[in-house]
Amino acid sequence: MEAKRKLIDDKGKRLDGRTWDQLRPVKIEVGVLKNADGSAFIEWGKNKIMAAVYGPKEVHPKHEVMPDRAVVRCRYHMAPFSVDERKNPAPSRREIEISKVIREALEPALVVEDYPRTAIEIFVEVLQSDGGSRVAGITAAALALADAGINMRDLVCGVSSGIVDGQVVLDLNDSEDKEGSGDMPVAIMPNLGLVTLLQIDGIYTPDHFKKAFELAIEGGKRIYEMQRQVLLQKYFGSSPAESTAEEQE
């Protein structure tokens, strides 16, 4: 019906002033909740997401115990005030699906064999939502898992790429996600070079697909660098516990 507005201007600048391969500002704090065994708070664009981990802990109900490994559980949930229209607090079908893919994105990094007969519970609570909330949640949750001292094969980090105004771009914000023509959240284990989450929406020529996928992997590595800095500062740094990493490009 109405003409779509341009999302990238003639000079290649996006609505928020970024270039095609630039990330939004990211700020991360680790160890922010007292009760949780591990926690992290991430602000990424307008995303504000709390991640927390409990475990290894006893399994309830008992019949879900696995004799040779930990059970991993995950709940991704959005606060009622996190989106433009108030959201019903009951979990939507979307939240249930995202809980599952986040769990499947993080579990490959966990040495679950080290914790037989236990449960590891991961909570991702979106206090404010922007484009890429699931990859931001994964990024924060991986830090919460590390903060909880769970043995891990690698960190997990993620970022979306997508197609906006016919161009491949990195790290879509809310408007680009909704008005663009493709969104591809990707999570990786950066040191092992393995993909743990991949979802694709939109229409990608084989060429666009390759380019967007590679861009997301490259962007993920930049996110990993921030995760690493946060952990270094938290555990070895001179700066205070709520040390933050702000992206400089």
């Binding site: 909740l33 009760n35 206090l127």
Partner: protein, 271 residues
């Protein structure tokens, strides 16, 4: 909350230790009987909400978000807007919290906080009427509990009150039987600042702002909300135990006194 799991032996030992201290007017964390833990109120954290407030009370942490829309009034109050308070004890807030629909503790929490605000007439609901009987302003205040460390009642109430005190809403005018937004933004019509003060009785001693350790051994709980004029506007006794009438009267006096102190902090944070 459901987030407190009882262990009888530990509890008995703890209670003995605590009672000894309290008899000397002292508490485990060094506070005096009538002293709150450190209270921090931050507002305007959630840009997508009409208002928000994060309250940190010791290690208890909650966040309230306000969402404003138009809706249909209740048939018995056709000329009043709606104010709806909910609370969710998030599963990440405590090892004992569980995902799922709110249990009786979370429902009591939200309803007691709601009554403190409603009965104090903090928000003038008649100013939220757009077309009587047809369309009114609806204010949702949803509270997410992020970390449970005792006294959720006060932390939640402070967050809701602080958020409402800073909330802005679209100005609506009638358009036939419907509402039309003028494009202007106006403050939510806040008239008063109710303050919830929760006290615990442990043996014969009354303390304010119980920590989670104190809640685990307390006999009875009482929450009293007072308004700017020192009136009591809402109250709720909790726990399967009792108060003497004299203890109730002492709690009433204490709640008014502490309410004044905290009101200043809330008003200060909302500027």
């Amino acid at each position: 909350m459901s987030a407190v799991k009882k262990n009888y032996i530990v509890e008995t030992i703890r209670k003995a230790q605590l009672s000894e201290l309290l008899a000397k007017g002292k508490r485990l964390d060094g506070r005096s009987l009538e002293q709150y833990r450190e209270l921090k109120i931050e507002t305007q954290l959630i840009e997508k909400a009409n208002a928000s407030a994060r309250v940190t009370l010791g290690n208890t942490q909650v966040i309230a978000g306000v969402k404003i829309a138009t809706g249909t009034p209740f048939p018995d109050t056709p000329d009043k807007g709606l104010l709806i308070v909910t609370a969710e004890v998030l599963p990440l807030s405590s090892p004992y919290a569980e995902a799922g629909p709110p249990d009786e503790d979370a429902i009591e929490l939200a309803r007691v906080v709601d009554r403190g605000i409603r009965e104090s007439e903090m928000v003038d609901l008649t100013e939220l009427c757009i077309v009587a009987g047809k369309v009114v302003v609806t204010i949702f205040v949803d509270v997410s509990i992020l970390n449970v460390d005792g006294n959720l009642f006060d932390a939640t109430s402070f967050a809701v009150v602080s958020a409402l005190k800073t909330a802005k809403m679209p100005k609506y005018v009638p358009d036939g039987d419907k509402a039309k937004a003028t494009g202007e933004t106006i403050p939510v019509p806040v008239k008063r600042v109710p303050v919830s003060v929760t006290m615990a009785r442990i043996g014969n001693v009354l303390i304010v702002d119980p920590s989670i350790e104190e809640e685990a051994v307390m006999d009875a709980r009482i929450t009293l909300t007072t308004d700017d004029d020192g009136n009591i506007c809402a109250g709720q006794k909790g726990n399967p135990s009792t108060f003497t009438p004299a203890q109730v009267m002492a709690a009433a006096e204490l709640s008014t006194r502490k309410g004044k102190e905290i009101r200043k902090q809330i008003v200060g944070a909302a500027k």
